[in-house]
Amino acid sequence: MVLPPYLKQYVASVTEWWSSVKTAHSVWRLTRLYTGLLLSVVSILLIVLYQLSIGQMNRQQGLQIANIIAQQTLLAEQLSTEQFLEQFELQAQSSRQYILSYQTKKELIGRLSEIPTTLSQCPSLSRFPIWLDQFDELRLVSGCSQSMASGALIIAVDDESLYELKGQFISASAVALLLAVLLGIITGLVFSMRVLKRINSFNQVALQVESGQLSARVAISEQNDEYDHMALHINTMLSQLQHSFETISGITDAIAHDLRTPMSHLRQQIESEILSKRQLNLPTEQLQPMLDKLDEILFTFSAMLELTRLQQQKESNSQYFKTVNLKQIIVDAVDLIEPIAEEKQQVVNIASAEPLSIQGDATLLFRAIYNLLENASKYAGKSAQISVQLTHRGFTVSDNGPGISDIEKQKVFQRLYRIEKSRSVAGFGLGLTLVKAIIQLHNGKIELLDNKPGLIVNVEFVD
């Protein structure tokens, strides 16, 4: 079966809506709760109403019937059978509302021409049809029989109208309940959607903060309700968090910054010493390792400061963005890592879709991609397969090495964090933090996935 495209779209949109509704558990829960409440209230109201109207009539009828039975029983006790039957005949003829008959062994007196086959014992009533002259039609009446000393008393009452009323009441109730359900679902959905939309805005902000955007804040409406109070508190809390976070990183940066100057002077001293010794052909083996150590420290300091700048001064970093060809950058990065990978018998390949261009800084992107490749080469082990794939929204770098556990996946982007088993490899735990900062500067997202075995680093740029 081939569906026309507009129908396909429609089906797709409905499916999407449905799945979004289905995943929003709370919407359903609240709606169900609300509808349930509404239904209970309406049901109670209906029951009370029924008891007050139709129930009342029913009880009246029962009382009347009981009265008649009591009266006739009394008469039957006080009068002889002859007299009793006589007065009964009269009573039966004159009674308008009640159809009375009396069945003795010999005859049936009263208004019924015969006794219905199904007749319950009083006080419970059963319904049977009779022909009524006054209406000139067949009508359903309710009646019962009460056995007495000399026979059985049959009382029937024409309750057609009451019966109809009952039916109407029941169908009206059914409609009312259905409406209540509909109303409950509709208002419940609207109401809970509105509530949850606000809660979701909180969740969105929480997610943004999790991903490192400490500047994210919850929007506050004009209603000044509990949500707004909560939003205010959360925003205040976030501001304080951001402030202390910036203070902390400010302190580490200040330390790095202030130490760099004396360190670079130290570096200059050692280096000029080396240069002087070389001029005189003196050995410099003792000084060179010092220089290398100093360079490591200085490099870490520089990386820390650079990180902060990338994370904090988005505007000044992105004002020089140009259109860059991501594929070219990937090719360049793979060219650079290739001989290093070759030494470990690793294969690096580029699987490319169509070329992708984004607004960005070529050098920074190159560093990010090269860093990811370097990590893959460092940690994936001998003879690993490393592949870079251009997707239509970014790129992935994957390997078939040991991969990273789920717990560590969260942590590897933190500053100076190093995986236990990688401590033997040179590095400072700033590489991935820097990569993430660069990707975020380019409005991108970076996530780590399992390649089973190995790691996939997935980078997507949002326009």
């Binding site: 760099r260 360190m263 670079s264 002077h265 570096r267 200059q268 001293q269 280096e271 000029s272 080396i274 240069l275 002087s276 070389r278 001029q279 410099t284 060179q288 360079d295 200085l298 490099f299 520089s302 400061l305 650079e306 700048r309 990338l310 001064q313 000044s316 970093n317 004002q319 020089y320 360049d332 060219d335 650079l336 890592i337 001989p339 290093i340 030494e343 800084d361 070529a362 050098t363 920074l364 190159f366 560093r367 090269y370 370097e374």
Partner: protein, 227 residues
Amino acid sequence: MRILVIEDNQTTRQYLQKALQEQGYEIDLADNGQDGLFLALEGDYQLIVLDRMLPKLDGLTVLSTLRNAGKQTPVLILSALDSVSERVKGLREGGDDYLIKPFALSELLVRIEILIQRKGTHSEKITSVLHVADLKMDLLSHRVFRGPTEISLQPKEFKLLRYLMEHNGQVVSRSLLFEAVWDYQFDPQTNVIDVHMARLRKKVEFDGLTPLLETVRGVGYRMVEQR
């Protein structure tokens, strides 16, 4: 060879002076932008080493004033660690090279050497074939020969060798090589360039032929013709 150093930090200034004098350059010093600009406009220098942050007159202002006045002296900008965009700014204002502090003196010396040499090669006729000893590179057909044998090189290796041949006899640093071949401005920090060079060496100096590429300890590489 006269070099003007405009740098406000006394320690750095002294080390620069010492290192450059040891290399045989004559040095003039200025510790602020104003004096530096005055000296640069009046004097006749082969090169100016200019700090980016200066009292009295900012380094970039010094540079643009100098260029507007028609002085084409090569300028090497020194700057505290700054974002890449800062570097772009400096080069756009007419700087010829850009070093980020803290820098290695050896790196600075190599770059000064290259800048001064480059100034001198402008008069040379443009050639499409490079020769170093029996190594021949045809820039048009992208083919490389060592004697009669053709050497097959990957694009990046070709660029690497070309840069070395163009700077025949000069020491080039790893980061200069990286910038020349990859055209991204940062220091890869690892021995990755050495690995590339080792691979290139194998291809150029096959079968025990005369070595043409020598390692300059602590600095970088140099192409040498041994006659």
